[in-house]
């Protein structure tokens, strides 16, 4: 699985997203489930799935699916 596919799975699971949601275009507060509480669940799930630890700035800046994917690439998670 690619990074994006894995990340999509993390988002769907952590935010309990329906099939109609365009996950890759999602932004913070873009759906009800991605509020501040959902964000913490999401951050924990991302850390578990990719075995990374996000610092304060990364948690705050992870404001969209795209930002999260780019951040993980920068942290050295292989894209393939």
């Amino acid at each position: 699985m690619t990074l994006v596919e894995r990340l999509r799975g993390v988002f769907v699971q952590a935010l309990d997203l329906g099939q109609d949601v365009e996950v890759e275009k999602l932004e913070y507060r873009g759906v009800d489930a991605w509020d501040s509480v959902g964000h913490m669940t999401l951050v924990a799930a991302v850390e578990d799935e990719f075995d990374v630890q996000l610092d304060t700035d990364q948690v705050i800046d992870m404001s969209s699916f795209k930002v999260a994917a780019d951040m993980l690439k920068n942290l050295g998670v292989p894209e393939g």
Partner: protein, 492 residues
């Protein structure tokens, strides 16, 4: 120059030297500016019929102006969640007959009998309800979005008394700069605004939360000195590895809105103390405008788990309970001659007495004309005890109200939803556990539990992770056949 005078409540609530800052634009209004704007706003309200004002209270400077304008017009102002569903808002308008509804969303249709204007809806015909009581100043919702929400009726005297108590408890000086971390329709968020404006301090209005970059940009740009949070904010700040050393101006944090885990109280106390800062734990209810107790940082060591001593002007007594009260889980009947005490260690219902206690509740326009029904005495529905030095420790809830991320949730409503909406056929029971609600489903499966959590979250408009739904073989029962909530609570 103007027919309206900003006497009584407003003049005391807004110190001329205070300031309100719009974080997004940097625009600043002095307290004098705010008072002048409030008066001007009030002039536009003089032709309204009798009744309260409804204000859909976003976290923005326009909301503050409308709110203060309503007070300047000496109208009771009801602050409502701007996300109030249309049907709930329509029901509230029908029951309370507001003279106007301010801050309504663009494009939303005005209900029957109301005329859309540039800033909200105005009632066309005058209502049949008697005018609101002259002391009535502020109306805040009690809880939840199910059933029929009712209002807490607060006098201007109670609001001011509490603002002054908070100023004294936290030592708020004119140098303090607080952000709007919490919604303004929420009593805790509103009390941050009240106490800082009354103290001649500064409030920075931002619609962003602690998980958003613009919030922290505002903290540093405006030299924000304090944060106010409910338990889940502290869970988030812990998760964020919040470090006050990175924000040199930020030296005070306050926590209320439910019980924060002891571990996190200790953690934040130490984190703040390490940079010369302070962590205050507080306790309140909307019914007390809202603050009742405060545990200052210097008194916190050795008393983790306490919510502190009463704020200035307040006292606590503990009403002893009969076995029936403690076992039943249902709200206890108020008896005139029940035993109260302040003796250390005696557990019972926490009763607060002070000038900040509400006048009473209201479920209809007619009840807005009622006077003070409580005489400054509030039975909180919380269970607790006082230690030898008068520090209050809370141990549970007598009434069936839980909290989910700081929002009050009627546990009986949750159980009604279980029966009606979730499709679960077996018996279920809901109990409060800190900042979430634990639901026990008899004979539920893991998938069913997940679906129930989702349904409850959607119906109550709260996050699903606030509902911990667990399967049980059988719910424990009392000899009376009622659900044994204490046993369930012990099992959370």
């Amino acid at each position: 120059m103007t027919a309206l005078r900003t006497d009584t409540v407003l003049a005391d609530l807004v110190h001329p030297g205070s300031a309100l800052v719009d974080a997004a634009t940097g625009t600043t209004w002095s307290g004098s500016d705010l008072l002048a704007r409030a008066e001007r706003f009030a002039e536009g309200l003089v032709n309204l019929g009798p009744g309260p004002l409804f204000l859909l209270a976003g976290v923005d400077t326009g909301t503050v102006e409308r709110y203060l304008g309503g007070l300047a017009a000496r109208r009771p102002v009801a602050l409502l969640d701007p996300a109030t569903p249309h049907a709930v808002l329509a029901d509230l308008i029908g029951r309370f007959q507001p003279a106007a509804v301010l801050g309504t969303p663009d494009g939303e249709r005005a209900p029957e009998g109301y005329l859309p204007t540039a800033d909200g809806w105005r009632r066309l015909a005058s209502g049949e309800a008697p005018p609101p009581h002259p002391d009535l100043t502020l109306l805040l919702g009690t809880s939840g979005s199910t059933g029929s929400p009712k209002f807490v009726r607060l006098s201007g005297r109670a609001v001011l008394a509490n603002a002054r108590s908070v100023i004294a408890s936290l030592g708020i000086t004119t140098a303090e700069i607080a952000p709007t971390c919490l919604p303004l329709h929420y009593s805790y968020g509103l009390s941050v605004l009240h106490s800082h404006l009354a103290a001649g301090a500064t409030v920075v209005v931002t619609g962003h939360g602690v998980l958003e970059r613009p919030f922290w940009t505002a903290v540093d740009r405006y030299g924000i000195t304090s944060l106010a949070g409910v338990p889940y904010h502290y869970e988030m700040l812990r998760r964020l590895r919040f470090d006050p050393a990175a924000h040199p101006s930020l030296r005070t944090v306050t926590q209320a809105g439910g019980r924060l885990r002891d571990e996190l109280v200790t953690y934040f106390h130490r984190t703040m103390a390490a940079v010369g800062g302070r962590m205050f734990v507080m306790y309140g209810q909307t019914e007390a405008a809202p603050r009742m107790a405060c545990l200052p940082a210097e008194e916190l060591p050795g008393r983790v788990g306490s919510v502190g001593r009463p704020v200035p002007g307040g006292t606590f007594t503990i009403r002893s309970l009969s076995d029936q009260d403690t076992a039943g889980g249902a709200p206890a009947p108020r008896r005139g001659r029940s035993a109260t005490s302040t003796s250390p260690g005696a557990e019972g219902e926490v009763v607060y007495q002070g000038p900040n206690v509400m006048m009473g509740y209201a479920e209809s326009a007619a009840e807005l004309s009622s006077g003070d029904e409580l005489g400054g005495v509030l039975a909180t529905g919380d269970l607790g005890y006082l230690d030898e030095e008068g520090f209050l420790f809370l141990t549970g809830r007598l009434s069936r109200i839980g909290k989910v991320f700081g929002n009050r949730v009627n546990l009986d409503d949750v159980e009604r939803l279980l029966r009606g909406r979730t499709g679960h056929v077996g018996p279920g029971a809901a109990v409060a556990d800190g900042d979430r609600v634990v639901v026990f489903l008899e004979g539920g499966t893991v998938e069913a539990c997940r679906a129930v959590a989702r349904t409850l979250a959607a119906e109550l408009r709260l996050h699903a992770s606030g509902f911990d739904v667990r399967p049980v073989d059988r719910l424990p029962l009392l000899p009376s056949g009622k659900t044994d909530y204490r046993t369930l609570e012990a099992g959370t």
